[in-house]
Symmetry: C2
Subunit: 322 residues, 2 copies
């Protein structure tokens, strides 16, 4: 048996504001972590240099202790096949960025890239709620709605690397127009943190007898809605019932696509706990064919939100072909 | 190199009325074919015996010429993992039928089973419009709407073997109630042959100035609607525009799930040609994120409808582990 205990990988999670990184071993222990600003570097070359400055002292230490196998990265619009970040709307770097090429040139290490939701799914599969599962769907409910789909034990990338944009599937024909994509009635328009705040503002127009009515519309965000719902505010509770209904109906459709063993929910919105889980489960079950009912595990992520993408990105490294 | 030219497989397509079979070689030539009634045998044991009586003379001939590798079967609700037909609504055999076990016991040959739409997808991947593709979706538009999904070069079966029920995904919240599943607004409720006939009857209630108005409601089926549309009847044309819109919107959702290289349409409904293809393509493109637009090939099956499932079922045999 090969001793893998002294092998390490770097997992990097690139977000619009911050980049988080961790040095990870085969067991999924993050033995060292840190972060740097993403948005401080409008030029990709400066960013790569800053990343190298930050990581090279750590790399030196670990070079003595064991073997650094490579770098795995999760980033918005990261493409696994091409190793490029393509037209990411919330990053400074415009167009197509050949990220893995730049990283490998600078670090002299193999590099693998995927999008942030896929990285979180790989993290969940290796170390979280989907451990050992060959078929599951990860839904990230944050500012937007992302997804990572695993079938037959593999991430589904599609023919071009862009599979898994479940946040943009249409669940309400002619419904709420998305602020950015302009599509009508997409899942993200309702079930993202942004969508939850919009729903709250819409319901307030019909019912001003709510704790939320004390705030200016622009102050209402999903965290405030959650706080008010936990205090028993009926309007805020209705926001979660509606959000859960839309999410549950969408999940039913996804289940009839790939029949996963589990759906793992992840991201800031799940802090609402049962408020979001209960209506989601109810409407998911209600819209399934009988052969799918009472079978699919609907669960929350078991990973720290900050760690999931780092762990998943690092796990990409173990799957690289040498 | 191993000479495979004298290896054969039996492909069997079990439908509610008829069972079709073919002896197929590695190139996908159906060297002999035939059929027997499915519905003449209410007992599964009688059916297996009849299948054996029909096939054994042919098997004897081919036993002299080459090697019969096994039997592949496509059947409604056929489960790849368990080898069983589970609660198929349009077959006489009720409950769970251990089909591969019964077939292997009778024929002394290995047997593999999948559902009919998956078998057609495998046929298309090996010998039809999806040759060489690793990511595509097959949609069968017949009495019902079925599907087979291929990602990373493999059929998606899901954790329980029931993946790919795209006909039952909801595309119109609160829409037309399905006559059998009772779900509201599913793809099958609109885009199956049955759904097309219902749409025609609904439109006729609003507009009696149509060739279709000459027929009694129960005489209207999708073939008649197609004939009238080809004669330029405006109501019949509207039926296809509406059907294509619903199908196109659904396909957009499926594309954002698995980002396939192609979607292959199959089944009786595609005889309408451009009448169904044009509105489907228009609404598919309209509902996609820009990164998916003008990329996905939307094509008709290249296989004879009768042959696709036989070819696909036989191809299951080549993939069996010895």
């Amino acid at each position: 048996m090969i001793d893998l205990s002294n092998e390490f990988a770097i997992g990097i999670d690139i977000g619009g504001t911050n980049t988080k990184y961790g040095i990870v071993n085969h067991r999924g222990d993050i033995v060292e972590k840190g972060e740097l600003r993403t948005d401080a570097f409008p030029e990709i070359d400066d960013y790569i240099n800053a990343l190298y400055e930050t990581l090279s002292p750590i790399l030196k230490v670990h070079a003595d202790e064991g073997k650094m196998k490579g770098i795995g990265i999760g980033a918005p619009n990261g493409n696994f096949y091409t190793g490029t970040i393509d037209y990411a709307p919330n990053l400074h770097w415009k167009g197509v960025i050949p990220l893995t090429k730049l990283v490998t040139a600078k670090f002299g290490l193999p590099c693998s890239l995927t999008n942030d939701a896929n990285a979180a799914a790989v993290g969940e599969m290796n170390y979280g709620a989907a451990r050992g599962m060959r078929d599951f769907i990860m839904i990230t409910l944050g500012t937007g709605v992302g997804s990572g789909i695993v079938a037959n034990g593999q991430l589904i990338y599609g023919h071009d690397g862009f599979a898994g944009e479940l946040g943009h599937t249409i669940i309400r024909h002619g419904g709420r127009k998305h602020w950015s994509t302009k599509l009508d009635g997409s899942l993200e328009a309702y079930c993202s943190a942004t969508g939850i705040a919009i729903t709250a503002r819409e319901l307030l127009e019909k019912n001003s007898n709510s704790l939320l009515a004390k705030y200016r519309p622009e102050e209402i965000d999903s965290k405030l809605v959650c706080d008010c719902a936990l205090k028993g505010d009926e309007t805020a509770l209705e926001v979660y019932r509606f959000t859960g209904q839309i999410l549950g109906e969408s999940l039913a459709n996804f289940i009839m696509f790939s029949s996963p063993e589990a759906i793992v929910l992840f991201g800031g919105v799940i802090k609402a706990g049962d408020l979001i889980m209960n209506p989601t489960r109810e409407h998911m079950e209600k819209n399934l064919l009988p052969i799918f009912q009472n079978k699919v595990k609907l669960v929350f992520s078991e990973l720290q939100e900050a760690d999931a993408a780092i762990l998943g990105a690092s796990a990409l490294v173990w799957e690289m072909r040498e």
